[in-house]
Amino acid sequence: MVKQCVTVLSRNDISSQKVGLMQQDLGWADLQINEVSKSFRDPKGAEVRALDGVSLSIPAGEFTVLLGPSGCGKTTLLRSIAGFEKIDSGHLNLGGNRIDLLPPHKRPVNTVFQSYALFPHMSVIQNIAFGLENEKIAKSEVKARVDEVLELVKLTELADRKPSQMSGGQQQRAALARALAKKPKVLLLDEPLAALDLKLRKAMQFELKRIHRATGTTFVFVTHDQNEAMALGDRIAVFNQGKLQQVGTPFEIYTAPSSEFVANFIGESTVLQGKITEQIFQGDGLRIANLNQNMSSNGSVKLMVRPEAFTLIEGETSCGNVEIKEIIFTGDSLETLLVTHSGHEVKVKTGAMLLNQLNVGDSVELFVDVNQIGQLA
């Protein structure tokens, strides 16, 4: 909890006093997901495990991203937290209170839907006020909060418009404002930026970070876009086929993926299989010496190396010779596909300047930075 304070304080640019007040407001509610499972029947009648024993602890105030391919369970988990799906087993706790038995309108949790789900017959103000009117709040207070949240998402000028009169980005901000107005303990976002074009999406990512810092609310954000996940998340939870694969900061996930799935889902990687004996790796046609001490040295291993950890022509530790199969120039870098003498493919990313020195078919020496080699389970 203290660590969270420090992280939040050090990352925002508004007064720490305001953050402190926000924290008091929220009552520091951690979200605990304990061994949650859910199955349902697909159209053919087969049983599908949407969530399989998922356990995850989300500290209050954090921006957590649920990441994974379609059908991996991330949306099911989000909807379960919101209350739109009933879980088959396990608990959901918020600030120590069990919430999985409560209906959606009794949970201190609000959702921003992928389709925005704004009420088409109401203006922005009315949409936002709707949620507040469901609580016992004085009319003046309602107005104050609506104005406050409109300013937060920068929609004050469009307050009287109806959803059909606004652009996608504006609708998205309205949906966000509507959910935030109730000052929920957790804000759930279901791929809210999916419908926006690239430029607008990048702009909204900045906006979301800003709003997150300003409010201090816990954000749980679902996406299948790994770049978005890394840009937005304090921590990322990677899902596949209903199971939680790994949880960690973007840096941890990227440099130390725990499985081949995570390694390949986030960024590119080359997976090498072989044996380590006395800090020397041999396998897949490569030989890498001077491995770090923490690399296990009993029998077969799976190593993961990011393309930018390799270099060609000259570098720190040699892996052996490889043949160039494909060269792709992307403007600011060079992506090469190489093959070891045992036929294994290696992906390498270097500076663009090497373009003139490399040709398809050449045999070159491959180098690696041993500090960036990860080990997979």
Binding site: K38, F40, R41, D42, G71, T75
Partner: protein
Amino acid sequence: MKPRSTTEKEPGIYGPGLVSLPAYITGILLVGLPLIVVIVFSFLQRGEFGSGVIHKFTLDAYRTVFYETDLMGNQSLNFSFLKIILRSILLAFTVTIICLIVGIPTAIWIALQKKTTQRILIVLVTIPFWINVLARTYAWMLLLADGGLFNQFGAPVLLYTSWATFIGLTYAFLPFMVLPIYASAEKLDKNILEAAFDLGASGWRVLIRIVIPMIRFGIFAGIAIVFIPALGAYVQPSLLGGNKSMLIGSLINDQFGESRNWPVGSALAVLLLAMTGVILLATRRRKLEFV
């Protein structure tokens, strides 16, 4: 794949369950109950003096429908009833075929027009739908009567013949055939037709091998929407056919009216229901979905 319950669940919760209680009672029970009661009545005994029923189980009604006993006590197949049933089926069948022959091209023709023309044409096809069937049937009474327009142009007097019933039914049901087929045809990707012509197919080939198979669901729907009501039609046979050759609809009405044999009338209705069920299965309506 979105993790949702499998059936196309209607959007969440619209309101409190209590609101639907009177609705369930009126809307659903009273839709289902009449059918159950009809089936039950068909197994009951004819009431005293013919009115209503006596609550005693018997198969008399069905026996009357299928068999007749002559003065000697010999049972034989009741041809008069069976004739009526077969005649109704034949009539409904013919009406459906003609509606198909005329309706399919019409629906396709409309679907291939420009958007605005399509809307106008569909309105034109829909208007008769809103006009009372009595008025539409009366129109043919005028045309087919002795001294009416058709007669004056040399045609024989068709009123009060089976031909009149046939024409009246076809006229009434043609829009019912056109609309669902149009709904299918309108969704057709015109590029597919263009591609077919581009590959050298003749008009007939495109029509028969491409267009019709692609709109077959609309055609099935149209067949169901025409055949079933045509089977049980009452107004047209009554006004145009003159009761010379009876059909199921008039027969049922008679059993509840003059002949005062409710169980038999119910039995006939059950038969009609059974035939309807067969047609629905044949045209593959899985969920009785209409919209």
